[in-house]
Amino acid sequence: MGEKVLMKGNEALAAAAVRAGCRFYFGYPITPQTELAAYMSKIMPKVGGTFLQAESEISAINMLYGAAAAGARAMTSSSSPGVSLKGEGISYMAGADLPGVIVNVERGGPGLGSIQPSQQDYWQATRAMGHGDFFQIVYAPNTVQEMADMIFTAFEKADEYLTPVMILADGLLGQMMEPVELPDEIGELPEKPWATTGTKGKREHNIANSLYLQSNELEAKLLERAKRYEIILDKEQQSEGFMLDDAEIVLVAFGASSRIARSAVVKAREEGIKVGLLRPITLWPFPAKALEATLGTAKAYLSVEMNMGQMVDDVRLVVGKDVPVEHFGRTGGIIPTPDEVLEAIRSLNAKVGE
């Protein structure tokens, strides 16, 4: 680790990716993630890497497929509407078991929506990134430091499980400045014996492919992949708890809204309300185990999101029907204030408190 510098979230994602061994970046400009591409355009020539502004988001994701198949650490990034365009390519990558990192710096939607921050792509990232039975690991940083650190984890997990990995950020995280200590440059990269690097006449062909001419072969592949998903679900859940020990009201929030929720929790505690915060760091796998651990004290849950209520579904799946689960959100590019969240905590407390 070096010294602290000031960086925007978008810049930190780019700078850390290069230090994690990423030498191929393919992208297309879109607010609010453009600084990431701009940074890559400056740095890649200096480190012998490739920055390529593709003609579209669809081209960029297919370039990522190609680079990943050839064994490179590669990345693409966009914001919500652009990420929708990448859906097909991500499905193909999952189908061919290719590792790669996709960054989504979310903005308001649907459609062109807004250039302001949102968390409206939770369902897309965790459930419906593309067609077919597949998942991608999804990380949700909430500081610029975490954005830098998580890019390392993202590349590592992509290579380990042979899957696309998404960093789900939002316009606020991408645009804001914070002090950050960039991780050291990575040493050795993992061997990729499956990569299409040329047989040199010495081995069988490696093929990156998602097409199966026999249905039973495809089913067998899907079953094999599902076993990997089971391992991910078991081993890769990450979350952070804050004031949860005696929490009767448990807030669940990720990314930028977790920073707001945390401020609200501190204020509510000053009023004597027993409230805590569970922050999912991985959105898929959702940190079900950590959430289950809060059931002992919890009388109610409040999912705080910058959307109309998406992650709240995952909270309900874990919590079940016995304890009330509510959602508080602002959406369409509006960021909730800590006071608004505090008010939601107060009214939930009035409802369930003795």
């Binding site: 602290k4 807004s114 002090p179």
Partner: protein, 257 residues
């Protein structure tokens, strides 16, 4: 008691700035926070201040976010009609020319132009450069030793010619705005001064002042954090020599601050 009285007098070099002040520099060095402080402080000195938000590059964290507070302080804000909307378009306010002329002709008026980052952001200045150069003006090149791509004085110096080229303006002063937000301490300030002096030497442009941010406790406009209190004391007691030290507030904040 408000933040202004805690921060104390603003350096006389800032009070003596000409009536047209351009602020430009690398992305994220803190141009907007510096411009806001200058606008509020000159207004408090009794000046009639117009703040121009000329950022055509980035729709986030800009002067226009502070429209209500600026208006309350009697400061006129000229921003693109698209500011604070979801329209990401490079628009300029039509009243900028007349604001520059007015600042020149009316006693006590000052026009501060907060440009977007890098040469791209400085491009929007080109349109007004002729008018700006017709009279007295200052062009402040803001630097920050802790921005990742301009940590070396030479790197910061190398960016200026590109900005001067696109803006058709020459920097008249360097402004040192080295900080680590609320983690700014003595060593950060010290390092910033050495850095900015070296940038000024390379460019042969004088160093105007060193901005030192004083963070307040969450939700307060007047209660300094212990770290900020300590920083202010060490500069006040000259443990830390800082020529033309300008204590500034942190106006550019995040929703949870």
């Amino acid at each position: 008691m408000n933040m202004q009285s805690i921060r104390g007098e603003i350096p006389s070099v800032l009070k003596e700035l000409p009536s047209v002040v351009v602020v430009f520099g690398h992305y994220g060095v803190g141009k907007t926070n510096f411009s806001l402080n200058l606008a509020y402080d000159l207004a408090a000195e009794g000046r009639q201040v117009t703040l121009v938000d000329l950022d055509i590059v980035n729709p986030y964290f800009r002067s226009s976010d502070h429209a209500a507070a600026l208006e309350a302080a009697g400061i006129r804000l000229l921003c693109p009609q698209s500011a604070n909307t979801a329209l990401d378009a490079p628009m300029l306010n039509v009243a900028i020319d007349s604001a520059i002329e007015e600042a020149r002709s009316e006693e006590g008026h000052v026009c501060i132009i907060d440009a977007g980052g890098d040469d791209v952001g400085a491009t929007a200045l080109g349109r007004f450069s002729k008018l700006i150069k017709q009279g007295e003006h200052a062009v402040l090149y803001v630097v920050n030793a802790l921005r990742e791509l301009t940590k070396q004085p030479q790197e910061a110096a190398d960016l200026l010619p590109e900005m001067e080229y696109t803006s058709h303006l020459r920097a008249t002063h360097v402004v040192n705005n080295t900080h680590l937000m609320d983690a700014t301490d003595e060593s950060v300030v010290k390092r910033g001064i050495e850095f900015a002096e070296e940038v000024a030497r390379i460019l042969d442009v004088p160093l105007l002042c060193t901005a030192v941010p004083l963070a307040c406790e969450a939700g307060s406009l007047s209660l300094l954090t212990p770290a900020a209190q300590q920083l202010k004391e060490s500069i006040d007691s000259a443990k830390l020599t800082c020529a033309n030290c300008y204590f500034v507030s942190i106006y550019v904040k995040k929703p949870w601050d």
